[in-house]
Amino acid sequence: MRTAIGMLATCLGVFIAFLLQQGLPAVHVLHGARIVLVPMIFCYAAMVLPFPAMLGLAFFTGFVSDLFYLHIMEGRVEIAIGCSIVFFVITGSISNGFRPSYLKGHWWPVIPVAILTTSAYLLMQFVMISVRREGFVFEMAVLWRVLAPGLLVGLFVPLVHAVVQPFASLIPQSPWRQPEY
């Protein structure tokens, strides 16, 4: 039951992150890179939740992500619904591998995982549209737009952890709650 509540709360969190992302403008000094919050929230949750719940969350996050960024032109879908589900299942499984460490009180592994997941997510999108459009474009701006969001979320992870923990401690046996050592 507590896992189900945790998962529902996380789905809500992911959805709110999507809406927040929608309102955040591009950062011009970083060559138009955007702040991408969803993979970070997902990685954090994937480290906290048990494997079956993580799979459910990966499905939800991937499905909503594909619907948000679905681009259909002249009857061609650029990134088919389902691609992000597979992506989040893979990265969620990696993140979930750090769950024993989280349960021992170490939350920091989520920082490199969130950085890598965020950048890999944007890179996956770029590679897929490049394949669809039959041509790769190599510009410095591409590197910035792939790497900068990852590094930015690395700064946000401690903030998210600091915000989540006080709330988690209010709920008895919350999956988000870290043991104190």
Binding site: L19, Q21, Q22, G23, L24, A26, H28, H31, G32, A33, R34, V36, F51, P52, L55, G56, A58, F59, G62, F63, D66, L67, F68, Y69, L70, H71, I72, M73, E74, G75, R76, V77, E78, A80, I81, G82, C83, I85, V86, V89, L122, Q125, F126, I129, S130, R133, V137, E139, A141, V142, R145, P149
Partner: protein, 269 residues
Amino acid sequence: MKKINIALLLAVLALAVYFSAQSASDTQSLQAKFLSFLAPFLRTGTAVQEQLGSMGKGLKTLDEVEADNRRLNEVNRELLTTNNLLREIEAENNRLRLALEYRARSVFRLLPARVIARDASTWWNTIKINRGFEDGIETDQPVLTEVGLIGKTTTVAKNECLVVLITDETCRVAAKIEGSKEQGIVSGMRIQETGTNGTLQMNFLSKNATIEPGQKVYTAGISNGVFPSGILIGTVREFRTRPLDGQALVDPAVDISQTSDVFVVVGAK
């Protein structure tokens, strides 16, 4: 790994494969339903953004007024603020009047719409507007302002629709250059420069064409095409020759980042 975990993993992957195997039209109708579900959140978000934006503008104006007029008392400051607000309303009034005049003199049947969300993705250039199939909008209808072309509709939901902008690489428009017989295809760049209005590329021009910066680019209006002839797209910034053809870089006529009111061409008058 537990058997139940493997079964769940396979189930999720099977669902992913099922969705990826859907046809483009099924996927589009799924996105339209999602867009309808999302619309109230987006509208609320836009309203909050507008409120915050106008609050910021007000504070900035007050700061400037304070710096310039230290001796002014509270009543004077209040009067200045009111005056500024009235000026904003007057500017908006003028803008809307221009739009209405354009609508009246246009040869197209135009449906006014408002931008409810701007693109939030790294790789695509789209906006969402507050008109859908209930208002008579269909896929592939041109979207423009009194200044020029903006893009075309793609996914159409009940009361909202997605517009792909001309600054997107996938939005291709047959175009002609003012004062010449040159025709080509205008599309956006995959990576748009930041802090600008965007850049368009006009490809398939002849190598020895005489094209000068400042020449205007209009839609060519090919038969059975999406865009009617004669809509302003932008102005030539630069012309360069390539091994096989000539390419013009075009500055879009419309500053999309500042545009909040648009028209959808729903037919001819």
